[in-house]
């Protein structure tokens, strides 16, 4: 009998005030179909709510979907809250409408990768698997 493979747990969250979650749901579905356990929190989450959910669910990955333009304000706050809770190991991805100029800052703040419109979901799944495996 072989050891069961470690389940990858991903929190998909929508921080801030934008109400468009089609993208988040498409990604959640794609990750599910790739064999991951996806916790979806719903709309209008504060950074503290997202960090708390990541803590309670002991996720490996947090995926943030942001279309509102507030990424420069929200993402660093979420990363800070995660660190405060001792969740430095959590890998954070961002997807949505993010101008090219803002991407380096987000990566410097600790985001693993930023995905724009037209991203292939296969790519996201593979990136997550690779990032989680590297960590073990």
């Amino acid at each position: 009998m072989s050891m069961p493979e470690k389940k990858i747990r991903v929190l998909i969250a929508k921080p801030g005030l934008d109400g468009h979650d089609r993208g988040a749901k498409v990604i959640a579905r794609a990750l599910r179909d790739d064999g991951m356990e996806v916790i979806y929190t719903g709309l209008r989450q504060t950074p503290a709510m997202i960090a708390e959910a990541a803590l309670q669910e002991d996720v490996d990955v947090v995926g943030l979907s942001i279309l509102s333009g507030a990424h420069n304000a929200l993402v660093p706050l979420i990363l800070e809250k995660l660190r405060e809770n001792g969740q430095d190991h959590v890998i954070v991805f961002v997807g949505g409408i993010i101008p090219q100029d803002d991407i380096p800052n987000l990566l410097n703040a600790g985001v693993a990768k930023v995905y724009g419109p037209g991203t292939n979901t296969r790519e996201v799944c593979d990136d997550i698997r690779k990032a989680v495996l590297q960590q073990v």
Binding site: G35, T41, E52, A53, L55, E57, N85
Partner: protein, 340 residues
């Protein structure tokens, strides 16, 4: 962190340690088993409450409302929630979406929500649900709300695990209502008709009350509804609260407007008190521990026996059975006596 560090952090109330322990126990790793062994002495206090019913009936919203009401009780008891959603049988993946309905509980440090995937288990729960409930119990959570997957007829595993089972129904299922009753009617300690602002709520309430009554009159009262007896008038169930028979009430709620939640919590607490008074609490605990020992024993015996048989021998036996030279039953007899 090693198990010892995790345990001492848990003792200091670390939610991070709690979360990690839950993961290790869920994965059933050697560390997880070691942790469960250490925690066992601290379990046995929490009131475990199961919530089951069809998908979309409002279980998550009810759980959220109940958690808030329980938190407002004297002493502000701590509440843990285990929310189970199904794993895909094809990919092993899962969408765990119960938190969406529980956003109200955010910011309350006395509430801890953990989402679980069934990971292939049938019966409405994950195989690790009981073990995870033990962790919350040992961590000092007073109430553990366990929400099953959307349940149809046979997802009745919850009855083995919970002290109190709430079966949620909604109005307007019409004659279809029969279909959920056969399996699930038998396990409820409290019935809830949620979405009671929708047409047909009082009819559904009446249906359920009639069904309970029919179950009693149809045969041996011991055989029906684990010995429950239906009161002559459902309006005065209080009479039976100290008797050996528990009479399940049929309550109406509108969970998203928090209507009826307080009455539901009162009923659940009354059931807890009844369990303790009649000794049923103790009996359930004993039964749960017996089951746990049997399960672990079986797993160990299996592991030892299978582990000692070379794969080649196993394969050879499968081939013989496939060629119809012996039966699977004969193979088992052979393997059980196999000496390596």
């Amino acid at each position: 962190m090693n198990p010892q560090d995790l345990l001492s952090a848990l003792g200091k109330g670390s939610r991070f340690a709690l979360s990690r322990i839950l993961s290790l126990v869920e994965a059933d790793t050697p560390q997880g088993r070691e942790l469960l062994d250490a925690l066992h002495a601290h379990t046995g206090r929490a009131h475990k409450i199961g919530i089951t019913g069809p998908s979309g009936s409002g279980k998550s919203t009810l759980v959220s409302g109940m958690a808030r009401a329980l938190r407002q009780l004297p002493g502000h008891p701590r509440v843990a929630i285990l929310a189970v959603d199904p794993t895909s049988p094809f990919t092993g993946g899962a969408i765990l979406g119960d938190r969406v309905r529980m956003a109200d509980l955010n910011g309350d440090e006395g509430v801890f929500i953990r989402s679980l995937a069934t990971r292939g288990a049938l019966g409405g729960l994950s195989d690790r649900t009981e073990a995870l409930a033990q962790v919350f119990d040992a961590a000092g959570y007073d109430f553990i709300l366990i929400e099953t997957v959307g349940a149809g007829q046979s997802e009745v595993e919850i009855v083995k695990l919970a002290h109190t089972v709430i079966v949620v129904d909604v109005p307007g299922l019409g004659d279809d209502i029969q279909s959920i009753k056969a399996g699930i009617l038998e396990i409820a300690d409290v019935f809830v008709i949620n979405k009671a602002d929708h047409p047909g709520a009082s009819e559904s309430q009446h249906h359920l009350q009639t069904m309970i009554q029919l179950g009693f009159h149809a045969g041996d009262p011991q055989a029906s509804h684990h010995g429950q007896r239906f009161a002559q008038s459902p309006a005065e169930p209080e009479e039976d609260r100290t008797s050996p028979n528990w009479v399940p009430a049929v309550l109406l709620t509108v969970a998203n407007r928090t209507e009826g939640i307080d009455a539901l919590v009162t009923e659940v607490l009354a059931h807890g008190a009844w369990l303790r008074q009649t000794g049923a609490w103790q009996a359930k605990d004993e039964e749960a521990i017996r089951r746990e020992i049997e399960k672990l024993l079986l797993a160990e015996l299996w592991k030892n026996q299978i582990g000692s048989i070379p794969t080649a021998v196993f394969d050879e036996q499968i081939r013989l059975a496939t060629e119809r030279k012996c039966s699977p039953g004969q193979v088992v007899q052979y393997l059980l006596t196999y000496n390596c």
